[in-house]
Subunit: 376 residues, 2 copies
Amino acid sequence: MKFLHTSDWHIGRQFHGVSLLEDQRAVLSQLIDYISENPVDALVIAGDIYDRSVPPTAAIELMNQFVGRVCDELSLPIILIPGNHDGAERLGFGSSQMKGSGLHILSSFDDMTQPVVITSDIGEVAFYGMPYNDPEMVRHYFKQPVSTFDDAHKFLADEIKSQFSPKQKNVLISHCFVDGAIESESERPLCIGGSERVSHEHFVDFDYVALGHLHQPQKKGQDYIRYSGSLMKYSFSEQHQKKGVTLVELDKNGFKSATHIDLKAPHQMRIIEGELINIIEQAKEDSNHEDYLLVRLMDTHAILNPMEKLRSVYPNVLHIEKPGMLIGVEKELAAAKLSRSEMDMFRDFFKETQNVDLSHEQDEAISDLIMQLSHQ
Amino acid sequence: MKFLHTSDWHIGRQFHGVSLLEDQRAVLSQLIDYISENPVDALVIAGDIYDRSVPPTAAIELMNQFVGRVCDELSLPIILIPGNHDGAERLGFGSSQMKGSGLHILSSFDDMTQPVVITSDIGEVAFYGMPYNDPEMVRHYFKQPVSTFDDAHKFLADEIKSQFSPKQKNVLISHCFVDGAIESESERPLCIGGSERVSHEHFVDFDYVALGHLHQPQKKGQDYIRYSGSLMKYSFSEQHQKKGVTLVELDKNGFKSATHIDLKAPHQMRIIEGELINIIEQAKEDSNHEDYLLVRLMDTHAILNPMEKLRSVYPNVLHIEKPGMLIGVEKELAAAKLSRSEMDMFRDFFKETQNVDLSHEQDEAISDLIMQLSHQ
C-alpha cells in the first residue's frame, strides 16, 4: 500500500512581490506526471493548500484544475486538511458533496473521527484528518480544559485513537509544530513564544503520521512521524533543502518505508555571493540565470545601479545585500552596534526614556528575564 | 414534473449596518420545510447566491448547511449559476467533484452546453445554466464580436439551442436584465446607462426560463419567462413585494404553470409614516414591532432624540426621514430646488463655469441630448 504525503503548497504565495503561481503550476504538473506513471492509493495533503484564508481567484483555479486531473482523470483519492494559512470553513464548502468523487476535505472536528478508509492490498487503511487547531478551538468545541497546543493535540489524538478498529492500519494527518523539529524562514509561527510545540509522543500509536507546517522534509521521534516539507522553496534560506513529496509504503505490519520524491520548480531560490564584476562574469556560465536570486555583494566601494547591472544578466534578482559596503570606521562602528546584547540595548533604552540608569536590582531582574526568554 | 425556481439570495448581505443572516437562515429553513412536505424534482437558483464575490465565512457556512440538508438529506438536486454578485471561479471550486452528489454549480461557459438532465414523469428535462456574463467575457472566450449584453445573450442562447435534443424539454437558467422588466432599489446595475438590457425574444424557444437579477417576482414576454424575485426584501421600497420561490410545473407539452410560494422573513422591511406621538401610540397594537423600519416623521417641529424614542417601541428602526421638518420658507426653497429640471441645472452649471449663458443653439442641443438619454 503506497500513498503520497505532501503539505504546505501555499498556492498563490508571493515572494518579494513576485507571484509564484507559475512555478507552483509547473511543480503540480510534475506531481501529476509522477502519479500517472507511478500508481499510488492516495494523495495526502497536510494543510496550507493556499497561502491565505481568502486565496486569490487564480490560486483557486489552479487547485481546481489539479483536483480535476487527479480525482476525475486519474481517479486517485485526495485527502486533505486545512493548515494555519487556510480558512477551514471556506475550504470546506461542499466537502460533503465532494466525498463521492474522491476529494476528501477534512476541515472540521466533526470530520476528524470519521476517517477516509482506503481498501488496498494490505487491507483497510484509515486516514484520520486533524484540521489545524489551537487550544482555544478545542476548548470551545469539546468543552475541554486544554490550555496549550500540546494538551489540545494530545486530547485530539486520544479522541481519534478511541476510534481505532483492529482490522485497520491508521494514518494521522496533522498540521502542527512537533517539538524539536527544524524550522525554516518561510513558516508563519502558530503563536508567540514557543508554546505551539507538540510532543511527538501523542502520535506514536499511528502507523504513519503525515505532518504539515514545517517546510523542511524531516522525521521526528520515529521514522513514521514525518514532515514532507513544502512543495517548493519559499525563502532563500531554504536554498539547500530538498523539496518534493514523500512516498510512503505500508505493509501488513504497518510502516515500511518513506522515500523523498524530488519536484523542481522552474525558478530555484538561490543566494549568490561575490563582487559584482565576478558575478556578472560567472553569469555567462550559469544555465539557471532565471532563478530567483538574493545577491550578496562583497564589493567594498560604492556601485551605481547595482540592481540594473545584475538584472542585465540575472533578470530575477529579487534582493541585494551589501555587507561589504560598510568600510573602515563605519564598518567597525556597525559591527560594534550589531554585536550589542539585548541587555545593553535595554540599558540604553531605559536611560533614554527615564533619564536614570537601571539600579543594581533592576539590572539583575531584567538580565534574568532576558536569560529565561532566550532559553525558552 | 415540478421544480422550484429561486434567485438572488444575497446570503451575507447587510442592511443599514444590520446583518440579515439570521433572517436568511429562517427563510431557508422555511424553504427546506416546504421541500420536505412538497416533493419536487429539482431546485434551481438563478444567481446571486452570495452578496459578494468573497462572501463572509458565516454566509458560506449557512449555504453549506442548506446544501447538506437539501442534497444529502432530502436527495433533491440543486442546479445553480453564479450571478453578478458572486465570484464564479470561487463559487465553482470543486463543482466537478460535487456533481455526483446532486449539487450542480454551472459556473463557466464550459458548463453551459452540458445540461443537467433530470429524468421525470414527463421524460428528460435538460437544465442549461448560463453563468452571469457581460459582453467582454463572451468576446474573450468565444472570440465573438459581441458588443452589448443583448448580443452576448443572443449568441449564448443560440449556442445552447444548438444542443437541443428532440426528446428533452429545455429549461434555461440565466442571470440578466430582460428589457422592460421592473427594477427594485436593492439591485446593483450590471453596467451604466441601460445597455445591460436583453430582449426576451432570445429565450422564447425554451420551455421555461428561470431568471435571476431582478428582485421583484415577474414574467416578461411569455408566461414561462420569469423572475422568481429575491429570497426576501432587501430594500424598504420592496415593502409591498411578495417574496418567496416559484413552483414551476412542466407537462408533456412544456410549460404548464408557475405558482408563487410565499416565504416570510422574521423581520419584514416596512415604512411607517406619521407624527412621532402617533407612531409610538400605535406601536402598542403592532405585533410586528421587531420589523426593520424606515420611519418617516411628519412632525413639523424639532424633536429631541427621535431615534431613541422610536427604538423604545420599535427596536429595529434603521432609518428616519423627516420631510416634515422643512418648514415655511426653507420648505418652499427646498421644494423649488428639488423640482429643478436637468436642463435648469445644466444651464446653472454652464453659467457658473463659463461665465456666459448657453447660446440658443447650445441650449437646444443639450435639451435634445437630455431628452434622448431620458428616453433610452
